[in-house]
Symmetry: C2
Subunit: 206 residues, 2 copies
DNA sequence: AAAAAATAATTAAACGCTTGTTTAATATTA
DNA sequence: TAATATTAAACAAGCGTTTAATTATTTTTT
């Protein structure tokens, strides 16, 4: 792997685990096995490195959901099911990176970066909103539901259970030996719950 | 106000807005109008100051929900409504402090602190769980619902809409001029949605 | 109640260390 | 031969913390 990419990769890993400010450029250089000066040579500054890394992720993830929304062979509720699974899968496998994004979003330090991150997070949100809208329009879903809030519920439920191992354990009432993120059990459970919830909330009573 | 308390107050404000690592002790001292050495004199270190501040908040908030859970004059769904309103109120007025807690929780830097924070956040969670449990036991709520996940949904929905102004605007589809946290409109909207959602999910069909 | 002693609070200055960044020289590749 | 990549070393600035001296307050003794 080229040194430039290796720097990005190591930086993301360290920023995600320790936070941006708590990670030194020497640490990153050490992990990437390059000279410290290479970081400024390639990226100009530590801050630009962060921006570049997040920007890369954004352009990589763009338009990955679009096919699902367009697919007309599935009903709205089937699409919702699929997208719930996709979001869970993605959030689980990018858990710490997501924490990095949310940390930056909660700070007033780098305003320009916040816009990029918002766009990145909205990649998960927008398609859910669109599918629910379509479902209401075609009559498959109830009228009068608060679509925007429902979207927040789906994203929020998944997000909340990925905050930390200890929080998840406490919420689930599990002992300290339980590793919520190391088995696929929790993924399924979140998926089932969210789907049931959305059904009770959106589907017309039959 | 005593210098010790003023330091805590200013520290919380700065840590919340800028993050722990990005805030210098000289900044805190400047804001609190005391000499830098006072911080170490009173708290030993910058890190202990953070711990003390969070610890204070924890002991202040303990047992504040207990009366609501014990109140037997309300039905389970009425209790849920009340607690949703309480949690929304609290999260809205402590928005940035909550961000600080969640940032610390997402980092591996200060493990001991994470336990305190988890306990603090669980003060919102535990009563909701208890009320739903009771409601299921008395037959007011459906059986077979995933109680722990439902709790995560309530907390997650509220939490997600408080991530950032820009995120909220984007989720709600509002223009850049809209200030989601400056009016009480959003509070009510989240409250109504969450209550409706929980009703559809928990109440038996009549 | 006044004086003396002891404790606590506050200050300016310095400490040693780490930070992100730059420089200028060298090695590598085109 | 020219452009690019890589290096070790140095830079100035900021960091959290400590020191030692001074002022303020409280406690004890007369």
């Amino acid at each position: 792997m080229e040194p430039k990419d290796k720097i990005i990769q190591c930086a993301i890993e360290l920023f995600s685990r320790k936070g941006f400010e708590a990670t030194s450029v020497r640490e990153i250089a050490g992990a990437a096995e390059v000279n410290v000066a290479m970081i400024n040579y390639y990226f100009g500054s530590k801050e630009h490195l962060l921006e570049k890394a997040i920007d890369d992720k954004l352009s990589y993830l763009r338009n990955i959901f679009s096919e699902l929304v367009k697919n007309t062979e599935l009903t709205a509720i089937e699409k919702i099911d699929k997208i719930i699974e996709l979001v869970i899968e993605r959030k689980f496998s990018n858990r710490k990176f997501n924490h990095l994004l949310h940390r930056e979003l909660s700070l007033a330090n780098r305003p320009q970066l916040k816009t990029t991150i918002t766009e990145l997070l909205m990649l998960n949100i927008t398609p859910i909103k669109q599918i629910i809208k379509d479902g209401v329009r075609t009559g498959e879903f109830k009228e009068g539901v608060d679509i925007e809030m429902t979207v927040a519920t789906v994203a929020g439920t998944i997000h909340y259970l990925l905050i930390s191992e200890e929080m998840s354990r406490k919420i689930l009432g599990k002992p300290a030996t339980f590793s919520p993120y190391n088995n696929s059990q929790l993924k399924k459970r979140i998926g089932n719950h969210t789907k049931n919830l959305i059904r009770a909330h959106l589907l017309k009573k039959q």
